[in-house]
């Protein structure tokens, strides 16, 4: 039995690792294999998602929604069809924008249980 694999990447250059660590831990406890990419460029996210053959991509957002949009464009350019979800400081106006592009969003205050449940849904795995 192979566990579902999730790539978790930081999209901002700030030093805030807490959110990403807490979420990664929750996903691990949910039985997922979490591949931490650290701070990488959009091209690298596309490359890593393909090389690691992941089932889901999680983006840690640091307020700037343009960065996330650029990553989505890059993934599309590379033909990566892996589902994406995002968490972190996502402004209200951006949530709607991203969800229109098929990205499930978890702004501050979201519950870890909901995030793990969403990961299960998007990867087609059960608890």
């Amino acid at each position: 039995m192979t566990a579902a694999r999730i790539l978790v990447a930081k999209t901002s250059l700030d030093g805030h690792w807490r959110g990403i660590n807490v979420v990664s831990r929750a996903l691990r406890d949910g039985g997922f294999e979490v591949i931490l990419a650290g701070m990488v460029t959009a091209d690298t996210i596309a490359r890593v998602a393909a090389d690691e053959d992941v089932d889901l991509i999680g983006l840690n957002v640091g307020g700037r929604v343009e960065v996330v949009e650029r990553i989505l464009d890059t993934l599309a350019e590379h033909g990566v069809k892996t589902p994406v979800f995002a968490g972190g400081t996502i402004p209200h106006y951006a949530v709607e924008k991203l969800e229109k592009r098929g990205v499930r969003c978890f702004p501050p205050g979201s519950s870890l249980d909901d995030i793990v449940a969403c990961a299960r849904e998007l990867t087609g795995t059960v608890a």
Binding site: T2, A3, S24, R25, L27, R28, D29, G30, G31, F32, E33, V34, I35, L36, A37, G38, M39, V40, T41, D43, T44, R47, V48, A50, D51, E52, D53
Partner: protein, 312 residues
């Protein structure tokens, strides 16, 4: 997918690696083709205690490989949680973005899964796949804490063991058994106090062992600054040249193939025995758990059931 992977398509290789990792019928279907396409990959095992600097050294070795215009694949192993089966695979955090997206670099993260034989089946299979796809070098990075991880490292062509200054005393080093598997020893973070004393300790311990045709060199590095990386790379290449000249290259492959053969049989038996425990052997398992039946007698009874299944 298989042919595309062998002709250099990365996406297909990534999918092939998933098939190999999962084991199962799909893997058994491709396994003979992998052998037929084997080219002679050089496998480097990199192991050491958590925090010794393995991932940073891996990044430095990628840099050296690229400088030498060689392609390099990396299998980075991290432990799975024994409770949930989940894992955080964090070795990429130390990987520079430049290396992570270089066409000549292929990094794959792997969870140890904790199950018996899990790693020792997935890693050799993945190395065969990388070999068949034309990758000339595979670096396997594992945490050297458990027997299986040490075994993985030992099954490489060249095993590099990473320690830090002030790393235990001689007794501990001997106990850890890491020295026995080392073809090359690295004292990383060697700008820290005690580096030279650690090198002397290691030298003394190596001299205690039986004389070998290859004397493991001890390399001092400061991986975070890239210092000593060129010396380590040279030592790895020297070891390869030694193996090729001495016949050890083929000898290690023979041993490794036999180890994999045994692991695959053992793992298949283990699967059946676990299944018996949940079905016809359930009562026996329950009585052992309750302390009503001793484990040895219980095992003998389960073994009889195993024999019956295999006879079918």
């Amino acid at each position: 997918m298989f042919n595309a992977a062998l002709s250099g398509d990365r996406r297909s290789l990534a999918q092939l690696l998933s098939v190999v990792e999962a084991g199962g019928d799909d893997f058994e279907f491709v396994a003979p083709k992998l052998l037929a396409s084997a080219k002679g990959i050089h496998t480097i095992g990199l192991t050491g205690a958590p925090g010794a600097g393995k991932s940073t050294l891996t990044d430095a070795m990628i840099g050296e490989a690229l400088r030498a215009q060689r392609k390099i694949a990396v299998i980075a192993v991290d432990p799975s949680s024994p409770f949930t089966g989940g894992a955080i695979l964090g070795d990429r955090v130390r990987l520079s973005d430049e290396h992570a997206r270089d066409e000549s670099v292929f990094v794959r993260s792997l969870a140890s899964r904790g199950q018996l034989g899990g790693l020792s089946l997935a890693v050799p299979g993945m190395i065969s796949a990388l070999d068949a796809a034309g990758w000339p070098i595979a670096l396997v990075e594992t945490v050297g804490v458990g027997q299986s991880e040490v075994a993985i490292a030992a099954s490489a062509d060249t095993t590099v063991v990473v320690v830090n200054p002030g790393w235990g005393d001689e007794v501990q080093a001997n106990k850890a058994g890491l020295l026995e598997v080392a073809d090359i020893l690295v004292v990383n973070k060697s700008d820290r106090p005690g580096a030279d004393a650690t090198v002397r300790d290691l030298e003394r311990m190596l001299h205690l062992g039986a004389a070998r045709s290859w004397n493991p060199p001890i390399v001092k590095t400061i991986a975070a600054e890239g210092k000593g990386a060129d010396v380590l790379w040279q030592a790895i290449n020297d070891h390869r040249a030694f193996m090729e000249a001495s016949g050890e290259w083929e000898e290690r492959r023979r041993t490794r193939r036999l180890v994999e053969l045994r692991e695959r049989v053992t793992s298949a038996l283990q699967r059946i025995s676990t299944d018996i425990e949940k079905n016809e052997g359930q009562d026996i398992a329950m009585r052992v758990a309750n302390g009503e039946l001793d484990p040895a007698t219980g095992a003998a009874q389960l073994r009889a059931m195993l024999g019956k299944r295999l006879g079918d």
